[in-house]
């Protein structure tokens, strides 16, 4: 393909950019360099996730219990379904991107426009889905108690079903309200208070004999369930706070590290998807106004396409290590 550099009079000469090592143009080669280095960045993150997971191999949250929601299907436990949909959307948008590149090779402007448009739509659906996934994770679903040692105690009934705090705890009227910047010392504020206090959870647990405590420890593939006496003892002696949902400090599903890595890695990936959508939009408008038609080469579509496929490639690994393994 032709180079897209500005004419300097030295084209074609080795030191004037005329030489194409490995038959790849300058732009394409640089994109490959970037992709290799970015791949190493992501591997660093995923390997760090692996480190923490191996370190807490006996207490890591079980992903199938964390990501169970599908939009519009409330109250159903459907692990994997939504994330499989997201994966498919991203692969599909990769396909439309290759089709755009292919149409570009044949200089078919209108086809490039259609395929790039579909790619952008796919990217937006993916980013939106990820935002929804985050929102669900931050909101949480059952609630839990955090202990002095930072461990999480969840609730389960004698039939083995998870129990939400709202199912057995009665909220009483509170003296304590959330401290805002507006009332009191202006530079101090706090996060939203949990719906229940620790004392309310304790009395709720006492009045419901069928509720047991489940710890983070994994014993033969299942989370450990405490006896009734032990449940009450753990909550009363070690419980310090009520946790609902997940953020960078606490995580109702287990180790806060799980939430930290989830936010950081999927966030970094989501940022890549977002910037990919921006790049796609830029070349989309360039195609429409005919820039590449005049340049007689759609190589820019190919270079941005490389980046877009790389984002898909990373997601394949994130999907495996966060949701499957």
């Amino acid at each position: 393909m032709d180079t897209t550099a500005v004419s300097t009079g030295t084209e074609g000469k080795t030191w004037g950019g005329g030489n194409q090592p490995m038959k790849a143009s300058y732009g394409k080669m640089m994109m490959w360099f970037f992709i290799v280095s970015d791949a190493l960045t992501f591997s660093g993150f995923l390997a760090a996730y692996g480190f923490s997971r191996f370190k807490y191999i006996d207490s890591w949250p079980i992903a199938d219990e964390v990501f169970t929601h599908v939009p519009f299907l409330h109250g159903q436990e459907l692990p994997m379904i939504y994330v499989a949909f997201m994966t498919f959307i991203l692969i599909m948008s990769s396909v439309t991107m290759v089709l755009a590149v292919d149409a570009g090779h044949h200089m078919k402007k209108n086809k490039v426009i259609i395929y790039l448009f579909l790619t952008i739509i796919g990217g937006l659906i993916f980013v939106g889905s990820q935002a929804w996934e985050w929102a669900t994770f931050i909101k949480g679903d059952y609630g839990a108690i955090q202990t002095k040692g930072g461990n999480i105690l969840q609730f389960i009934d004698t039939d083995g079903h998870r129990v939400a705090l709202g199912d057995f705890v009665v909220a009483e009227s509170k003296d304590r309200s959330q401290h805002m910047e507006t009332n009191g010392i202006w530079f101090l504020e706090e996060g939203s208070l949990p719906s229940y206090t620790l004392e309310e959870v304790v009395s709720g647990l006492e009045s419901h004999p069928n509720v047991l405590v489940r710890t983070q420890n994994i014993i033969e593939g299942e989370k450990e369930i405490l006896s009734r006496v032990e449940s009450l003892r753990q909550i009363k002696e070690n419980g310090v706070s009520v946790v609902e949902g997940a953020n960078l400090k606490v995580n109702e599903y287990g180790s806060p590290l799980f939430a930290d890595f989830f936010f950081f890695i999927t966030g970094f990936h989501g940022f890549h998807v977002f910037s990919g959508v921006i790049f796609n939009l830029i070349i989309f408008f360039n195609v429409i106004i005919g820039t590449y038609e005049r340049r007689k080469s759609y190589e820019m579509v190919e270079k941005v396409g490389l980046y877009w496929h790389f984002v898909d490639l990373v997601w394949v690994f994130v999907f495996t290590f966060f949701y499957l393994v």
Binding site: A24, D58, A84, I91, V95, D102
Partner: protein, 126 residues
Amino acid sequence: MADAHKLEILRGLIKFKSNVTKIWGVLILLTIVTGVEVALGIYKPENLLAPFLGMKLLNWIFIILTLVKAYYITWDFMHMRDETKWLRRFVVWTAVFLICYLLFILLQEGGYVESVYATEYVKRDF
């Protein structure tokens, strides 16, 4: 370049007539692999949960299927199949070598720290 596409996948087992049909063929392949992963992830067959080389057998299956998908995304979507041999090598060898090195160090260390918590007199819960 448009006429220089290699149109065989699976070592020549399937040969496509044009680049566009090859793309759709690869999409079908990737969809099947993802479908298998999701099905295994939902049903978790009992006999695949046996430990194998430090992990559950099922996890090894997931990782291998992921590498299969990564191969087809790089080779067909990113046109690695059509690049020169040395471009392929500098990208793949560099990345694979460094990633293996990183993974070995970090996972080894993670397993060691776990063993210290599990067997020595170091406690993290109070």
